[in-house]
Symmetry: C2
């Protein structure tokens, strides 16, 4: 069971039932957990080679509604990855300095360097999602951004950055349960923001905006994946499986030392 | 068995035998590995609270000779830590732009934000180590830097940054074995630099420079720990144990929601 990328121009369904785990991943059993563990190991192994090679990088874009599981996905999917080879950037409300630039400026500044996995917790897509839903910019501005994002992402992929984009799709009911638990569980209080309820009221507007994003910006060079995310183990499995396939296709290779360097071995053969 | 910080003005011994694991940690057995696993879990738990609290940060400085194990320590010690709450910065040869500023400029720019663990892989100390040993700056310049570093670090600690500094101490023989393995093991070739052998020739100069660093810059507010690092499990244990005690003393607390926010629960009690 693997995710398929959204095909360009496809109308993606984002019904509540699409958030349920697909067949074969719908039991939170030990088998699934063992598979997840195995993929985690595999991801860590591939990342070490990517880091050593240092010629290409992987950019992982994570988008979701509030309580969609972005933070948990990062913690659980990347938990075995060497933090030295992995950069996470959270895109918050733009600062005045960021607003004084084009909307891609702040994203470009934190694109992962060669050898790195970069994770965007929210991303440039906020500028065609929140910015659109809250009418922060006029329609003629955000409409142009789909192409601008596509061009930007193509340029990146032509320069050694592989891009994978995930939408963690949770149902309205699962979001309710998770938001409520942020209020009842004292170790989760800090995650709750009063604004979350206002965003929840805009559910359908976001659905609409997300569907446009997938339709217009799931490209051959930077595909979108819609992840059924109501259940954490299935979600982790699907994200990990996609990342591992992507990295395997990138074929990172450990660089070999040249003969001149290897000749230095003789100086190290004896103690001293 | 825990590490003691270097006491100010102490002359630290850096003999080869000081790199051996201390009694009680000298068997690479399952007991030690289980203890290391437990500390890793504890570190991850404390970090989650630090991140949630978002009022203070932890800066971990790692210094070592070549092949001293900085990369491996980062991978193994922080492997369970959420990458979202953890930034690693490697200090390489300064760029022209960095050289056009005071030596602390590039370090200040990457000090961990509130809530974060920041790891410096090498650090501002290179400017009293490599810079001194290779005579990149005159003595009257680097001599002033010890106090400048102390003042900088005190300012940081007075502003919510807790600092711990580790020197991973390996013996000359262990360094030889590790450098050789970089040449014989194809997955390690990429780590070998011809310059490593030149650095090895300067062993005593570095010993001298490091001893000055510990003597002058192990302060109450930013202590240095010398870690016997010839054996990886013992090294990991000692670093983890020190980090866990330090974080526990910082007492990170999950923020509580205010009553007004908690009142919003009623809107979430029913499906819809």
């Amino acid at each position: 069971m693997s995710l398929e990328p959204v095909r360009a121009h496809d109308k993606v369904s984002l019904r509540d039932r699409d958030a349920r785990p697909p067949k074969g991943l719908d039991a939170d059993d030990d088998t699934l957990e063992r598979k997840v563990d195995k993929l985690r190991d595999r991801l860590a192994t591939l990342q070490e080679a990517l880091y050593a090679e240092s010629k290409q990088s992987l950019l992982v874009v994570l988008q979701a509604r509030d309580a969609g599981g972005k933070d948990g996905t990062i913690r659980r999917v990347f938990s075995l990855v060497n933090p030295q080879g992995c950069d996470v950037h959270s895109f918050k409300q733009p600062t005045p300095q960021e607003l004084a630039h084009d909307f891609l400026w702040r994203a470009h500044a934190v694109v992962p360097a060669h050898g790195m996995i970069g994770i965007f917790n929210r991303s440039q897509y906020e500028d065609v999602l929140a910015a659109r839903v809250h009418k922060l910019v006029p329609k003629e501005t955000w409409k142009k951004r789909f192409d601008q994002i596509n061009d930007f992402e193509r340029m990146l992929t032509e320069n050694g950055v592989t891009i994978v984009k995930f939408f963690l799709h949770v149902s309205r009911e699962e979001q309710r349960v998770r938001l409520l638990s942020r209020l009842t569980d004292p170790t989760k209080n800090w995650k709750f923001e009063a604004g979350d309820l206002k965003e929840r009221d805009l559910w359908d507007d976001y659905t609409h905006a997300y569907r446009d994003v997938f339709r217009k910006c799931s490209t051959k060079w930077a595909p979108w994946y819609v992840v059924p995310a109501d259940r954490k183990h299935a979600r982790d499995y699907l994200v990990l499986d996609t990342l591992v396939s992507t990295l395997a296709r990138m074929r990172p290779r450990y660089p070999k030392a040249d003969p001149k360097t290897l000749a230095l071995m003789k100086d190290l053969r004896e103690p001293g």
